[in-house]
C-alpha cells in the first residue's frame, strides 16, 4: 500500500521524531509530530477510500456496432466498446486510473483503453475503443483494472472491478455466391434447395408411365399413348425433394490442440460455418452433429431458415472455443499461468482476508507426496532403520552416561539390570525417532530455504485450490483434493484457463512415448452417429465428416462399416480431414520425393520427419476410403467448401444427368 516515496517519508519523519524526543529538541519534535500527524491522517483517509469507495465503483459496458448494441460478435468485423466507471460513494477518489482488461483473441483497433482522473460522488470515467475479433469462439470482458493513489503519491491501491460480459463470436460471414461453382454444368437445374429423387412425386420431369388407376388426376393421363395402346396410361413424375447436408464436426481432444482460434478445430468450424451459410443461401437444408471421444455433444436435424442458421452458428462458435484437457500435464507449468491470470482478474479472491495461506504451509508440506508404491515403502522402511541405527552409538552413550552420572538416583531407586536395559533401549529408540523426525524436517526445510520457487508454487497452489473450489462448487473437501491430487488439480486449472481463453501448454506424449490425443473412441462415436443419421434420413443426403483420423489408421473398421451402410442407402459421404497448422499440406499426386541432403539441422529434420509421417497417414486414409468410393479431402490444401458445394450441385442434377 505504501509507495517507496511513502516509506522514505515515514522513516525520515520517525527518525526526526526520535532525534527530537531523545535530544529534547522541541521544535524538531513539533515539526516531526506535525508531519507525522498529517501522514497518518492521509493514510487513514486513503485506507477508508480503498476499502469503501473503490469496491463501490460500478462498471457499465456496452458493445455495439454501427446499427446499435450487439449481443453477438462476428469474426472479422469491428465493434465499438464503451465502458463507464461510476462512483456512487460520498468519499470520492482524488486519483483513479482505469484500464480495460482486453480479452484474449481480441485485437484493439484504436481508441482509449486507459484513462485517469479524480472522481467525486456521481461522477464517472469513460473508455471508448474499437475491437475486432479475428476468430470464432467466445469473448469474455472480465472487467476493469483500477489503480488509485493519494495526491502525494505516498499510497496506492490496485484492484479489479469485475464486470463480466461474455459474448459469442460467430464465424465470419461467408459469401455464398463466392462459393458457387464457376462452371455451369447444366442448363436445366431444379429450383434451389431441391434435388430430383427417383420416386414418383409431384415434380416436373417424367419418371415413368403406368396404367391408369381410379383416382389418378385426369391431367396426368398421357392421351397419345393411351390412344396408341387403347387403354388409359398415366404419367408419373419424379419427386423433388429437399437437398440435405449433415455436417459431423469432430471436437475431440486431437483437434483442440493448439492456441484457441488457430487450431484444427477452428478450421473445421470455419468450413462448417461456410457450408451452413452456403447451403442456407441456396435454400438447402443443413444439419449438424458435434461429437468428441466421449459421445455426441449436440445434434441438430437438417432444416433451413435464418433462425436455424443462427442456431448452427451459435453452436459452432461455442465449439470453437473448446480447449484440450489433459490430466498428464504438469501442475508446475500451469500454476504460474493460472495464478497470473487470477491475480489479474480475481485479485479480490486472492487476498489474505478471504484466501489465507498459512506461513508454515510451504515449509511443512511436501506437496503432494508421491503415491506410495511397495518398493518405495520398503526403501522408506530401510531408510528409517538406517537413520535410527545411525544414532544408536551417540544416543546410547549419552543415555547410559546420563543414567550412571547420577549415583544418588541409582542408590535411592535400586534399578535392576533388566529395567536398566529396557530403559536404555527405550531411550535409544525414542532418541533415534526424535532425531529422525528432526532430520526429516531439516531435510525438507533445508532445501526449501534455497527453493524459493517451490515455496512460491506451494502458496500459489493453496490460493488456486481455494479459488477453484469456490468457482466450481467443490466445497472445503475440494481444497484438500486439489492440494493432494495432481491430476484433478491440472484438469481444473486447464478448465479455468480455457474459460478465460488463455492458451496453455499440454504434453503430447506420455512417459511411455504414446500420443495422448489420438482419441480412438471417437471413431465408434462417429460411426454410431452416422448410422443414426442414416436411419433418420429420408432422401439421398450428403454426409460430411469433418474428422481427424490421421492417427487412427488401425481403428477405422467401425467407421468403414458405417460408411458402407450409408453408401448402400444411396447417400453420399465426404471426409474432410483437418491438418495441423504449420505443416505443409499433402500433394494431390502422392508422396513427395525426399529433399536433397542438406547440412544437418535438427529442427528441420524433425519437421521433415513429422511432415512425412502425416503425409503417409493421409494417403493411407485416402486409400482406405477410396476403395469405398468416398472422397477424402485435406482441410488445408484445397478449398473444401467449394468442393462440397460442387458435390451438392451434382446431387441436385443427378436425375437429369442420368437421363442423358
Amino acid at each position: 500500500m505504501l509507495t517507496s516515496r511513502g516509506w522514505w517519508f515515514l522513516i525520515g519523519v520517525l527518525c526526526l521524531l526520535a532525534l527530537g524526543i531523545f535530544d529534547e529538541r522541541w521544535p524538531l519534535t513539533l515539526l516531526a509530530l506535525t508531519l507525522l500527524l498529517w501522514f497518518l491522517a492521509e493514510w487513514l483517509l486513503f485506507v477508508l477510500r480503498a476499502r469503501l469507495a473503490v469496491p463501490a465503483l460500478q462498471v457499465l459496458r456496452t458493445v455495439a456496432d454501427d446499427r446499435g448494441p450487439a449481443t453477438n460478435l462476428w469474426a472479422g468485423r469491428t465493434f465499438h466498446v464503451k465502458v463507464r466507471v461510476t462512483l456512487p460513494h460520498w468519499l470520492g477518489l482524488p486519483f483513479l486510473k482505469i484500464a480495460e482488461f482486453i480479452p484474449f483473441g481480441v485485437v484493439p483497433m484504436g481508441g482509449q483503453t486507459k484513462n485517469a482522473g479524480g472522481l467525486a460522488m456521481g461522477e464517472s470515467l469513460d473508455l471508448q475503443y474499437s475491437l475486432c475479433c479475428g476468430l470464432a469462439g467466445r469473448v469474455r470482458f472480465e472487467g476493469v483494472r483500477v489503480e488509485t493513489a493519494d495526491l502525494q503519491g505516498f499510497f496506492y491501491h490496485t484492484g479489479f472491478l469485475p464486470g463480466l460480459l461474455a459474448l459469442r463470436v460467430l464465424p465470419p460471414l461467408a459469401d455464398a455466391r463466392g462459393h458457387r461453382p464457376t462452371v455451369k454444368r447444366h442448363n436445366l437445374l431444379p429450383s434451389p434447395g431441391l434435388h430430383r429423387h427417383m420416386r414418383p412425386g409431384s415434380g416436373s420431369d417424367l419418371l415413368d408411365l403406368r396404367d391408369y388407376l381410379p383416382g389418378d388426376p385426369p391431367k396426368t393421363i398421357a392421351w397419345k399413348i393411351s390412344a396408341r395402346r387403347d387403354r388409359l396410361i398415366t404419367k408419373e413424375f419424379e419427386s423433388e425433394v429437399p437437398l440435405r447436408c449433415t455436417l459431423f464436426v469432430d471436437t475431440s481432444q486431437s483437434v483442440r490442440l493448439g492456441p484457441p482460434g488457430r487450431n484444427a478445430l477452428a478450421r473445421l468450424v470455419d468450413i462448417s460455418a461456410a457450408m451452413a451459410q452456403a447451403t442456407a443461401a441456396a435454400r438447402d437444408l443443413a444439419g449438424l452433429c458435434l461429437f468428441d471421444d466421449a459421445g455426441v455433444l449436440a445434434t441438430i436435424r437438417p432444416a433451413r431458415g435464418s433462425r436455424h442458421l443462427v442456431q448452427l452458428l451459435n453452436i459452432l462458435a461455442d465449439a470453437a472455443g473448446m480447449a484440450p484437457v489433459c490430466g498428464a500435464a504438469r501442475v508446475q507449468t500451469l500454476l504460474p499461468l493460472a495464478c497470473a491470470l487470477a491475480e489479474e482478474v480475481h485479485p479480490q479472491l486472492l487476498g489474505p482476508e478471504v484466501n489465507y495461506v498459512p506461513p508454515w504451509l510451504p515449509w511443512f508440506w511436501p506437496i503432494p507426496e508421491r503415491p506410495r508404491e511397495r518398493a518405495a515403502f520398503l526403501r522408506r522402511a530401510v531408510g528409517l532403520l538406517a537413520t535410527a541405527s545411525s544414532f544408536v552409538p551417540l544416543a546410547g552413550i549419552a543415555g547410559l552416561a546420563y543414567l550412571f552420572s547420577d549415583p544418588l538416583a541409582y542408590i535411592i531407586v535400586p534399578v535392576s539390570e533388566t529395567m536398566l536395559f529396557l530403559l536404555a533401549v527405550g531411550l535409544l529408540v525414542s532418541t533415534g525417532m526424535f532425531y529422525y523426525a528432526l532430520l526429516k524436517f531439516l531435510r525438507h526445510a533445508f532445501f526449501l530455504v534455497f527453493a524459493r520457487r517451490r515455496r512460491q508454487l506451494a502458496r500459489w497452489r493453496k490460493q488456486m485450490a481455494a479459488l477453484l473450489a469456490e468457482r466450481y462448487g467443490l466445497g472445503a473437501g475440494g481444497i484438500g483434493m486439489l492440494l493432494e491430487d495432481d491430476e484433478r488439480c491440472v484438469i481444473y486449472l486447464q478448465q479455468f484457463l480455457a474459460e478465460h481463453n488463455m492458451p496453455f501448454p499440454v504434453p503430447l506424449y506420455d512417459r511411455a512415448g504414446r500420443y495422448l490425443f489420438a482419441s480412438p473412441q471417437k471413431v465408434d462415436v462417429l460411426a454410431r452417429a452416422l448410422l443414426h443419421a442414416v436411419g433418420k434420413g429420408r432422401d439421398n443426403e450428403l454426409f460430411v465428416l469433418l474428422v481427424d483420423l490421421l492417427e487412427l489408421a488401425d481403428h477405422l473398421e467401425p467407421l468403414r462399416r458405417a460408411v458402407k451402410i450409408t453408401l448402400a442407402r444411396h447417400h453420399q459421404v465426404v471426409i474432410v480431414c483437418p491438418w495441423p497448422p504449420g505443416v505443409a499440406p499433402p500433394r494431390a499426386h502422392g508422396l513427395q520425393e525426399p529433399a536433397p541432403a542438406a547440412p544437418i539441422d535438427f529442427q528441420a529434420v524433425l519437421q521433415a520427419a513429422a511432415t512425412e509421417r502425416l503425409h503417409r497417414a493421409f494417403y493411407q486414409l485416402r486409400r482406405t476410403f477410396a476403395r469405398l468410393g468416398v472422397l477424402v479431402v485435406c482441410a488445408e490444401g484445397t478449398d473444401p467448401v467449394r468442393l462440397l458445394l460442387d458435390r451438392l450441385d451434382r446431387m441436385r442434377s443427378v436425375g437429369l444427368g442420368r437421363k442423358r
Binding site: 517519508f9 525520515g12 532525534l19 515539526l31 500527524l37 498529517w38 503519491g153 479472491l349 503415491p371 481444497i479
Partner: protein, 267 residues
Amino acid sequence: MSEAEKTRPTVDDPAVRNYTILCLGCLSLLLVALLRKNAGPWGFIPVAVGLLGVWQHWRLAPFFTLITVVILLVSYEPVGDIARRNSPAARTFRLTDCILCVAALGYVIGQFRLQSMVHAIVPDDPRRRREAPRDASADALPQSTLNRNPRLAQPAEIAWVIMALPICALFAQVLWRLLPDRTSWSGEFHQNWLVLVPGIVCAWFLVLALFVAQGLLRYVGWQRQTPREARLTLLDTYWQEIRRELRRISHWLAWAQSRRQRRKDPS
C-alpha cells in the same frame, strides 16, 4: 496513449500555479521562522533548496529541504540549561515553532503534489517492471507510469490543504504536551516514575484504538464482501479447521486413484 498520459504540466495550469504559489508562500514563512530563530543568512539555504525543487520538480527536494531545516534547528536552537528546557514553562506555545511547522508541512504537501503531476503517481507493476528491458528508454516505459493530469485537479484541493495545515500543527502541539520528559528514562526514574503514567495511558489508548479500528475495518470489509468473497471466506475458514483430516483422506484417495490407474495401464 490516452489524453491524460500525453499531458505535461505547465505553469498555465491552474493546479500547477496554485501549488507553486503554496510552495513559495510556505518557503517565505519558513524563512521568516528561521530568521526569528536567529539562523541568520544560513536560513536562506533551505529556501534556496526548496526553490530549486519547485523550479526543477526535483524529487528529493522535500527531503533535502527538511534536512537543512533540521540541521539549522539543531545548530541554532539555543542550548540552555537542560533543567530549564525541561521545565513546564519550556513547553509553552511558541508562535515561531507553529509557523515553522505550518510552513514545512505546506511546502512538503505542495511539492509532493507538484511532483505527482510531473512524475509517476502510481508505481509500476512489479511484474511488468521485471519484464522491462534494462536499457529501455523513457518512451519504452510501461504504460502504468502515469502522472496526474493537472487539468483534472479539483479547485477545492488547495482549500483543504490550507485548512489542514494549522489543524495538524495544533494537534501536534497537544501531542507534544503529552510526551514524557527526559527524566522518564534518566537516572531519577525511581523518583519520578509517575511522569510515565500519561504516556503509558496514551500508548494503551493508542493500541486499543488501533485494535478497535482494525476490527471495525475488518467488520466493514466483511459486510461489503461480494457473495463470492463471502463464500470463499467461509470455505477457507472451514478448510483451516479440518485440513489435517482432509489432507489424510485426500492423500489416500489420490493414492488409490493412482494405483487404480497403474493397474489398468501397467506400462
